[in-house]
Symmetry: C3
Subunit: 224 residues, 3 copies
Amino acid sequence: MDSAAGLLLLDLIGVAVFAASGASAGVAKRLDLFGVAMIGMVAALGGGMIRDLVINQVPPLAFADWRYVAVAVAVSISMFWLHPAVRRLRRTVLVLDAAGLGLFTVTGTLKALDAGVPAVGAILLGTITGIGGGLLRDVLTGEIPVVLRREVYALASLVGAAAVAVIEWQLPKAPVLTVLAAVLVFALRLGFLKSSWQVPVAEEREYRPLRRRRGNSAPGGRTD
Amino acid sequence: MDSAAGLLLLDLIGVAVFAASGASAGVAKRLDLFGVAMIGMVAALGGGMIRDLVINQVPPLAFADWRYVAVAVAVSISMFWLHPAVRRLRRTVLVLDAAGLGLFTVTGTLKALDAGVPAVGAILLGTITGIGGGLLRDVLTGEIPVVLRREVYALASLVGAAAVAVIEWQLPKAPVLTVLAAVLVFALRLGFLKSSWQVPVAEEREYRPLRRRRGNSAPGGRTD
Amino acid sequence: MDSAAGLLLLDLIGVAVFAASGASAGVAKRLDLFGVAMIGMVAALGGGMIRDLVINQVPPLAFADWRYVAVAVAVSISMFWLHPAVRRLRRTVLVLDAAGLGLFTVTGTLKALDAGVPAVGAILLGTITGIGGGLLRDVLTGEIPVVLRREVYALASLVGAAAVAVIEWQLPKAPVLTVLAAVLVFALRLGFLKSSWQVPVAEEREYRPLRRRRGNSAPGGRTD
C-alpha cells in the first residue's frame, strides 16, 4: 500500500466489479433500470458500509466520497444496457469479481486492525467486507446467499484475511506482503473454481428444521 | 422547517403511514398480532434507524424518543383489527404513503447535510431513509422489495433528495423550498402511479445468473 | 449480575445455543460446512452486533472479544457433524434456546439502559438483542422469520425486557431481580410452547397486499 491514490484506484475497481455482479443479478430478476442500479450499489457498497459502521468510521466512505457512488451507478447502468455482451464475458467477470474479493478482504482487514480491532475480530470483519455486498445482493433478490451455499467463495476471503492479520502482526512494515494476500485470495478463489473442490455438505437425511411447523399444534407437543 | 414541533408532528405522521403499510403486509402474510406489530415497526422505524447509524446519531431516534415506538405500535395494532376497512381505503393509504415518502426523504437529506455528509452521500442517505423501511418490510416478509421492481417509487425519492441538496447549497435560508421538495416527491409519486409511466426494463432474453449453478460441476468449467 | 466473569459465562452460553440453532437451520438448508458456520455465527452474534451499533459500543463485542467468535464457530462446526444426535435432542435445544433468549434479552436491556437509552427504547433494544440473531438467520435462509409467525417467542422477550426496565427504575440495586427477569422469559417461552397458546391471527379473508401487482398495469388504475 505505497500510495493512497493507488489504494483508492484499486478500491474503486473493486466497487466497479461488485456493481457489475449486482447489476447482473438485478437484470436476471427482471428489475427495472432503477432497481438494477440499486442492486448494483448495494452489492458494491454494502460490505464497506457495514465495515465502516463497525469501526465507527462515520459517515461510511460510500457516503463521504462521491466517487464510490458515481462508479457504482455508472457501472450498474452500463450493465443494464450491455448485459448480453457481459454474458459472453462471464469468465472475465468471474476473474474481476475474484480480484474485488481479494482487494476488499485485504483493505477491510487492514482498516479494522488500524481501528484497533483485535486480530480475530479484524479477520471476521475483513471477510464480511469481502462477502457482505454479495450477501446483501442475494437477500434483496430473494435468493439464499450464494456465499452460504456449496461454494468456497467465503473460504478464500477468510484465508486472505487471516494472512493479512498474521503479516501485520509479524511484519508490520511489509505492505508488499499484504498486497500478496489479495493475490492469494484471488488465486484461491479461481483455483477453487477450476478444481471444483467443494467444502463438505452434511449427508442427505430426512430432517425437519428445529422450530418450523404447520397448523396450530404446539411444537412442545411434538418434541422429544 | 420553521418549528421543531411542526417537524416532529410531520415526522410522526410519516411513521404512522409507514407503520400502516408494514402492518398491512404482515396481515397479508398471515402473521399473528405480534408479528404484524413488528413488521409495522420495522417499516416505520427502519429507514430512520439506518440513517441515524450512518450519521452517528446514537442512540437512533427510534430508541431515544418513545413517541416513535408508541405511534408505530398503536397504528400497527389498529391496522390488525381494521384491515378490511383499510382495504377499501387503499387509495387513501397510497396517498399517505406518498406523503410519508416525501417527508422522510427531505428530513433524511437535511439531517445528513447537517451532519456534514457531502451532497452526493446526503442524497443517497435521504433516499435510503425514504425507501429503507419498505425495503426491510419486504425482505422480512420474503418478497423481492417492491422498490426494486418495476416501480418508480425510489426515483421520486431520489429526485426529491437531489432537490433538497441543491436548495440547501444555493438557498440555505429557504425552509419553504425544502418543504416544497417534500411536495415534489409526493406529486411525482402520485403522478407516476396515475400515468403508469415505467422505468425501462431490460428486454426479455434467456439469461442465467452469473454464479448460480446446480450440482457439483464448477462454474469455471462451463464459462466461456 | 454480581460478577463480570459470571455474566461473560452466561453470555457465551447464550452465544452457544443460538449458534446451535443457526447451524441446525443451515444443515436443514443443505449448506456446506462453511455456510453452516456462517449461519451459526450470524444467529449467535447478530442480535448483539445490532445492539452494540445502536448504543455506539464500537467495535461490537463480537469483533472485540475473540471468545465470542470462537464459541460460535466451534458450536456450529460441531452441529454440522452431530446434527442427527441433536435432532433427538430437539427438546434440549428448545430449552437451551429459551435460556439464551432470556439471557440476551436481559443483558441487551441492561446495556441499553447503562448507555443512557430511555426505557421504551431500551425495552425495544433488549427485545431486538434477544430475537435479532434468529431473525437474521431466517432472512439469510430464505424463510419468513419464525419470530414473525404464529409464535409467541418475541412476546416472552418483550415481557422480560419490560420487567428489567421496571426493576432498574424502581430497584436499581437488585441484580438478583434482573436475573429473575431472565428466568421469567425462559419460563414464559417454555410455558407458551407447552400450552400452545397463540397470539391471535387476523381472520382468513381474501386480501391482496397493498402495492403488489403483476403485469404492466399501474396500481393507480386499479385502486379505489
